[in-house]
């Protein structure tokens, strides 16, 4: 038994160190990101966004996104609309101050990738798939993606009404290597 201990330990160490190189790369979110939402009646941005992004183009399946948007950072360009958007009639920022997306799986899709995960918004958690592309830059790279959510699926605003149900989200996140 003692004869096997050191060879097994050596193999385990070798495997662990090799696995380290195979692990997907972590990225640091930098300034200049943009999270915008638009539909025919309402549009704006979320100014505060943070989280961890682990992604490797060669091994997207090992990727992991866990990002949080601060709801109180919403900016529609109009003070009254900002207040209205944060009220309990819409995002209810006092009760649900964050929008969170945690990925469950990631894969190649066409010329880009897609990530599926749980989008937690306004107290409702819903499986959501976000297609995105990743472009390398001199500093690191940029993640860009667009997807649409129905606001009523998350209990945001009254169903129907003047503001259309689908809301398009455009995301652009420049990153640098960790």
């Amino acid at each position: 038994m003692n004869k096997l201990l050191y060879p097994i330990a050596a193999v385990l160490i070798l495997a662990a160190s090799a696995f380290t190189f195979m692990t997907a790369r972590g990225w640091q979110i930098t300034d200049g990101y943009s999270i915008t939402f638009t539909n025919d009646e309402a549009s704006g941005i979320f100014k505060d966004f943070k989280g961890t992004l682990v992604f490797d183009e060669q091994n997207p399946g090992a990727g992991k996104f866990d990002v949080v948007i601060d709801v109180t950072s919403i900016n529609t360009g109009n003070g009254l609309q900002n207040k209205h958007a944060k009220s309990d009639e819409w995002f209810d920022a006092a009760k649900y101050p964050q929008i969170r997306f945690v990925s469950r799986s990631m894969a190649r899709a066409g010329n880009g990738y897609q990530v599926t995960g749980d989008l937690d918004m306004h107290g409702v958690k819903k499986a959501t798939t976000i297609p995105f592309i990743f472009k390398r830059t001199a500093q690191g790279g940029v993640f860009t993606g667009s997807f649409t959510v129905n606001r009523s699926d998350f209990g945001i605003g009254k169903p129907g009404g003047e503001v259309p149900e689908p809301v398009k989200l455009d995301i652009s996140v420049p990153v640098t290597k960790l």
């Binding site: 915008t36 704006g44 941005i45 100014k47 900016n75 529609t76 360009g77 109009n78 003070g79 009254l80 609309q81 900002n82 207040k83």
Partner: protein, 130 residues
């Protein structure tokens, strides 16, 4: 008549503009809210001058058409227009990269009364009441 009221309009517009620029700078300093990209010095001066000249045209027309009642009607309309114009800054959508848009109306709303205030203050120096 128009010559005098135009002079009054230009002078009161310029004074209102200068007051607006000073107020804007004070507002930026006190509230740390900078709206100079949408309400620059030139914009404030031009808007105030526009208001002054428009008032001069309105005053002349009111005086010509309504005779003795012209001044009363003009004063009411000028004040009313100043109030109605407040809807502009309240409803405006600023570029989204400007922080604290809720502070914008607080800066611009007083400025909307500066031309009328300057006009009423300076009027005795330019045009005598009938």
């Amino acid at each position: 008549m128009f010559k005098k009221s135009l002079a009054l309009g230009i002078v009161s517009g310029l004074l209102a503009g200068i007051a607006g620029v000073i107020y804007a700078h004070l507002y930026y300093t006190i509230n740390e809210a900078d709206f100079s990209r949408v309400a620059s010095t030139i914009n404030i001066l031009a808007a105030s001058l526009f208001g002054g000249v428009l008032a001069a045209i309105g005053y002349t027309l009111a005086d010509k058409w309504l005779k003795t009642r012209g001044e009363i009607v003009f004063n009411l309309v000028f004040t009313l227009i100043s109030f109605i114009s407040l809807l502009g800054p309240i409803a405006v959508r600023l570029p989204r990269n400007i922080d604290t848009p809720e502070l914008f109306p607080g800066m611009v709303i007083p400025m909307h009364f500066f031309p009328a205030l300057a006009w009423f203050t300076l009027k005795p120096l330019f045009v005598r009441s009938k």
